[in-house]
C-alpha cells in the first residue's frame, strides 16, 4: 500500500512537471492493461489509479482497476471501483458480475428488508441508467419530437400532418418523462451518498465520538449509505436499515 502511494506521488509529480504529460492517459491505460495481462496486478492497479489521479475516468477504467484490486485481495478497493464503474454505466454487466463475486468475499452479509415490489422496481428503473445516459436519451427524444413538429407544420398532406402532430406530442411527453427520470436519478444519486468500508473492521457508534456506545461492527467491503456528517464522523445506514456513526476515515465515499 505504501509503495503504491509513493508510486502515485511520483507519477503525479511527473504529471505536474509535464514529463508524463507527453504520455496520454490512453497510453497509461494500455500500459496498465499490459501489466494486468502479464499478471503484475500491483503495478496495474497503481497505473490505473494514476489515470484517475490525472483527472480522467471511465467505467472501463474503474472496472479494470477493480479487477486489479480484486486480484490483489483488496476487496474493499475492488468493490469501490466496481461501484464507481456502475455509477458511470449502470448497464455494465461485467462490472455487476464482478461486484457480485467481490461481495461474496466480504464478511457482512446483510439481508435487505422487504420493500414493496413497485418501490424496488421504480428505483431499479431509475438507476438502470446514469444521469448522463438519461440525458442523452432525453435529447434524442426531444429532437425526434421536434422533427415530428416540423412535419406537422410543413407537410402538405392532411393525413401526414395528423400523424406528425400526434407523434410529436407523444415524443414530447416521452421527453418530459425521461427528463423527470433524469432529475429523479440525479437527485437520488446526489442526495444519498454511498460509501465502502475500507478499514478491516469498524465499530459503529450511537453518537459521533470515540466514547459513545458501540452499536455493532462492520467489516471491509460493506456498502453503507451516508446520511449525514458531523466533524470527522459519518452517520451511516446499512442495507438492513441499521444506523449509527462511524469515523470518516474508515470509509470511502463512492
Amino acid at each position: 500500500m505504501k509503495k503504491s502511494i509513493l508510486l502515485i506521488l511520483v507519477l503525479s509529480w511527473f504529471a505536474g512537471s509535464g514529463w508524463i504529460r507527453a504520455e496520454s492517459p490512453d497510453s497509461i491505460f494500455e500500459r496498465a492493461n499490459a501489466y494486468y495481462q502479464s499478471g503484475a496486478f500491483d503495478s496495474a492497479a497503481v497505473y490505473y489509479d494514476s489515470i484517475l489521479h490525472l483527472g480522467y475516468e471511465s467505467a472501463e477504467l474503474y472496472y479494470n482497476s477493480g479487477n486489479a484490486h480484486y486480484r490483489l485481495g483488496d476487496i474493499a478497493a475492488a468493490i469501490y471501483n466496481y461501484e464507481k464503474a456502475l455509477k458511470l454505466n449502470p448497464r455494465f454487466s461485467d462490472a455487476r458480475f464482478n461486484l457480485q463475486l467481490a461481495r461474496l468475499r466480504t464478511v457482512d452479509k446483510m439481508e435487505a428488508p422487504k420493500r414493496s415490489v413497485i418501490n424496488v422496481w421504480w428505483r431499479d428503473f431509475l438507476r438502470s441508467r446514469s444521469a448522463d445516459q438519461w440525458a442523452v436519451i432525453s435529447t434524442i427524444l426531444i429532437w425526434i419530437a421536434f422533427f415530428m413538429a416540423l412535419l406537422y407544420l410543413f407537410a402538405g398532406k392532411r393525413r401526414l400532418r395528423f400523424i406528425a402532430f400526434f407523434s410529436s406530442l407523444f415524443f414530447l411527453f416521452l421527453t418530459l418523462f425521461v427528463l423527470f427520470l433524469n432529475i429523479e436519478n440525479y437527485r437520488i444519486n446526489h442526495n444519498s451518498h454511498e460509501a465502502i468500508v475500507f478499514a478491516p473492521n469498524a465499530y459503529v457508534k450511537s453518537e459521533p465520538g470515540q466514547s459513545a456506545t458501540d452499536l455493532f461492527i462492520i467489516h471491509e467491503g460493506t456498502k453503507v449509505k451516508v446520511l449525514g456528517e458531523a466533524g470527522h464522523w459519518y452517520r451511516i445506514q446499512l442495507s438492513d436499515d441499521k444506523q449509527g456513526w462511524i469515523p470518516a476515515e474508515a470509509v470511502r465515499v463512492i
Binding site: Y56, F97, Q100, D132, V136, I142, P200
Partner: protein
C-alpha cells in the same frame, strides 16, 4: 474412640511467655469421691512451681505429662513446652472446700492461679448412675450436659456471612458424639470442619463446665426478616467410668436472627454478591492471527458468598467465537470466614481480522462492613487480529447466508478487463452541461420560431382570402351590371348568369367545380350553417336560367327581372353569411 481433650492456653503462641492454669474435673463431689486437679504450666519449669497445699484434701497420687511443640509463625520458630501435673485427690469432710492457688515463678514475675471451690456433699445425694446397659436416658441430669446454639452476629444484611456455633457443655467424659446435619430454612450454609474440638472451661452459675464447639456453620441468609434456626439434635456417648458409657440425645435451643434487606441504590451490575471482593483479568495476548485462540482469565477473590455469585460475561463481537468458560473455585473456611477465588477461563477464537475492543468487566458487590455498594472493574483490552480469514475453504456449504445464485457464483472467477476505454475528464458530466442545455433547448426554441413564422404566413394568407371573399360579391354584382349593358342574345345572356353565380360561390365559399350540383351546393351550404331556403332559391334561379336558354319566352321572366333576382340573391346570401 475417646477424644483427647487438649487444653491449649490462650496467648500461648506468644513466644516464651509463661502461663499457669489450674482446673478440676468436677466442682461437686460426694463424700469420699476422687477428683482430679490439674496444673498446666506453659513455658515454665516445675522447679519454679509451688503447688497448693491441699489442706482439706488427701493426695492419692500425682502424675506428670509434658509436651513440646514447635511452631513456625511468620518465619519465626517458636517452641512451646507444656507440662501437666495431675493430682488425684480426695476431699475430707463435707462442705465447701477450697484448693488454694498454685504459684509459678517466671521471668515476668510470679503467676498465680485462682483458688478453686469444691462442694462436697453427702454420699448418695448425687443421682446414682445406672448399671451398664440400662437404657434410661430420661433421668440423666440435663443440666450436666447440654448443647447450645449461638450466632456470631445478631443482625446482618441479607447475604452477609455469619457463624452458627453448636457448643456442647458437659461435665463428664465424652467418648463419642454425633450430630446429623439439620435443615436450615432461608440460609445457604457451609460447614466448617472441626478436626479436634477445643475444650474450654466455663463457669455457669457457679458450675464449671467444659465446653467444646462441636459444630460450626457459616451461614448466608437468603431472605430478609426475622429468621428462625430450628433446634438441632445431637447424640452423645457419655462415659461415666471405663465400663459405664451411655448414649443420650440432646436438643439445642432455637435461635433468632434479624436479617436486614440490602439498601436501595444497587448499581446495575450488582447480582447479589455480599462481602468484600477483588476482580482481575489476564489476556494471553493482545495480538493474534485469525483462528488463533486467546485465553481470557477473569478472577474474583475475596470473602463473602463467593460460591453464589456469577461472573459478569465478557462482551465480545460476533467476530470472536467464545467457548463456554472453564470455572475454577477455591473455597476456604479458614478463620471461620468463607473466602476464596472463582476464576473463569474463556477461550476466544478470532474469526476476522481487525481491531477489536474487549471492554472491561464490571463487578459490583455490597460491602456489609461499610453498608455500601462497591464496584471494581478489570482492564479493557484492544486485540489486534491479523491474517486472512478463510471465507470459503473449498466447501460450498461452509458459508452461510448465501443465496442460491451466490452459491452458484462461488466456483466462478471475475470477468476479464476491458481493453478499450473512452477516458474522459472526470466531473464532466453531460447532464447539466452547457451542451446539454443547448441540445435540449434548441429544438424548443427552433420550434417556437418556426411556429411564429408559419402563423404569420397563415395569417397573411388568411387575410388575402378574406379580401377575395369580400371582393367576390362586388365582382359578381359588377359582372351582372355589365351583362345588362352588353348586347347579348338571350341564350348567351341566360347562360352567363349561372356562370357568374358559380364563380361567385367558388370565390366566396370555395365551392369546387365538382360540387356544382344540387346536392353539392346543399351540402356546402349546410356545412356553412346557411338556411336551406337559400339553396332552394338558388336552385330555382338556376333552373329558370336554364329554362330561359332553351325557351326564353316560356321562362316567364324578362332578362332584367332575372338579373335583379340574381343580384338580390347575392345580397341576401352575403347578409346570411355575415350573421
Amino acid at each position: 474412640m475417646a477424644i483427647v481433650l487438649l487444653v491449649i492456653g490462650v496467648g500461648s503462641a506468644r513466644g516464651q511467655q509463661a502461663d499457669l492454669r489450674a482446673e478440676v474435673n468436677k466442682n461437686t463431689v460426694e463424700e469420699g469421691e476422687l477428683l482430679r486437679y490439674t496444673i498446666t504450666i506453659e513455658n515454665g519449669e516445675e522447679r519454679n512451681l509451688t503447688p497448693p497445699e491441699f489442706h482439706d484434701f488427701q493426695v492419692i497420687s500425682s502424675s506428670r505429662s509434658s509436651q513440646m511443640s514447635v511452631q513456625i509463625i511468620n518465619g519465626r520458630q517458636e517452641i512451646k513446652k507444656t507440662l501437666k501435673i495431675t493430682y488425684l485427690i480426695r476431699p475430707s469432710g463435707i462442705g465447701d472446700k477450697v484448693i488454694e492457688a498454685a504459684e509459678l515463678k517466671s521471668n515476668n514475675g510470679t503467676l498465680r492461679t485462682q483458688p478453686i471451690h469444691i462442694k462436697v456433699v453427702k454420699s448418695g445425694t448425687l443421682p446414682k448412675r445406672k448399671a451398664p446397659g440400662g437404657a434410661d436416658v430420661g433421668d440423666f441430669p440435663k443440666k450436666d450436659i447440654f448443647i447450645r446454639a449461638s450466632l456470631s452476629k445478631k443482625e446482618v444484611y441479607r447475604g452477609e456471612q455469619l457463624i452458627l456455633y453448636y457448643t456442647l457443655y458437659f461435665r463428664s467424659g465424652i467418648s463419642n458424639y454425633e450430630m446429623p446435619a439439620s435443615k436450615l430454612n432461608g440460609f445457604w450454609s457451609k460447614e466448617v470442619e472441626i478436626k479436634k474440638p477445643e475444650v474450654k472451661t466455663q463457669n455457669i452459675n457457679g458450675i464449671n463446665y467444659r465446653t467444646a464447639v462441636v459444630r460450626k456453620l457459616i451461614l448466608f441468609p437468603q431472605k430478609s426478616g426475622v429468621l428462625l434456626i430450628d433446634p438441632a439434635k445431637m447424640t452423645v456417648d457419655v462415659q461415666y467410668s471405663f465400663f459405664d458409657t451411655r448414649r443420650i440425645e440432646l436438643t439445642s435451643n432455637a435461635v433468632k436472627l434479624k436479617v436486614k434487606d440490602l439498601p436501595s441504590g444497587a448499581p446495575p451490575e450488582f447480582n447479589g454478591a455480599v462481602g468484600n471482593f477483588r476482580i482481575e483479568s489476564t489476556l494471553s495476548s493482545e495480538k493474534a492471527a485469525v483462528n488463533e485462540p486467546l485465553t481470557l482469565r477473569v478472577k474474583i477473590s475475596g470473602t463473602g458468598n463467593i460460591q453464589l455469585i456469577d461472573l459478569p460475561e465478557p462482551q465480545l463481537p460476533d467476530d470472536f467465537e467464545v467457548y463456554d468458560p472453564k470455572i475454577n473455585e477455591h473455597i476456604s473456611t479458614r478463620g471461620d470466614v468463607l473466602s476464596g477465588t472463582k476464576s473463569y477461563e474463556y477461550l476466544l477464537v478470532p474469526r476476522q481480522r481487525g481491531t477489536y475492543k474487549l471492554d472491561s468487566l464490571v463487578f459490583a458487590w455490597f460491602d456489609p462492613a461499610t453498608g455500601q455498594y462497591k464496584k471494581a472493574h478489570t482492564r479493557s483490552y484492544e486485540i489486534q487480529v491479523s491474517g486472512e480469514a478463510k471465507s470459503n475453504p473449498g466447501g460450498k456449504n461452509a458459508i452461510s447466508g448465501l443465496s442460491k445464485e451466490d452459491v452458484e457464483l462461488l466456483d466462478q472467477d471475475i470477468r476479464y478487463i476491458h481493453t478499450e476505454a473512452k477516458l474522459k475528464r472526470s466531473g464532466n458530466s453531460f447532464f447539466g452541461s452547457i451542451r446539454y442545455y443547448v441540445l435540449m433547448l434548441a429544438p424548443v426554441l427552433l420550434f417556437i420560431v418556426l411556429l411564429i413564422i408559419r402563423t404569420q404566413r397563415i395569417k397573411a394568407a388568411g387575410s388575402e382570402e378574406q379580401n377575395r371573399q369580400k371582393k367576390a360579391a362586388r365582382k359578381a354584382l359588377k359582372k351582372l351590371n355589365n351583362l345588362a349593358k352588353k348586347e347579348l342574345n338571350d341564350k348567351d345572356y341566360f347562360e352567363a348568369i349561372p356562370n357568374i353565380l358559380w364563380d361567385y360561390l367558388g370565390e366566396r365559399i370555395g365551392l369546387d367545380r365538382s360540387e356544382q350540383t344540387q346536392e353539392g351546393i346543399r351540402r356546402k351550404l349546410e356545412s356553412l350553417g346557411v338556411d336551406s331556403l337559400k339553396a332552394e332559391e338558388l336552385e330555382t334561379l338556376l333552373e329558370n336560367c336554364r329554362a330561359a336558354v332553351y325557351a326564353p319566352s316560356e321562362a316567364g321572366l324578362s332578362r332584367s327581372e332575372m338579373l335583379e333576382r340574381a343580384k338580390q340573391w347575392i345580397h341576401r346570401f352575403e347578409k346570411e353569411l355575415q350573421v
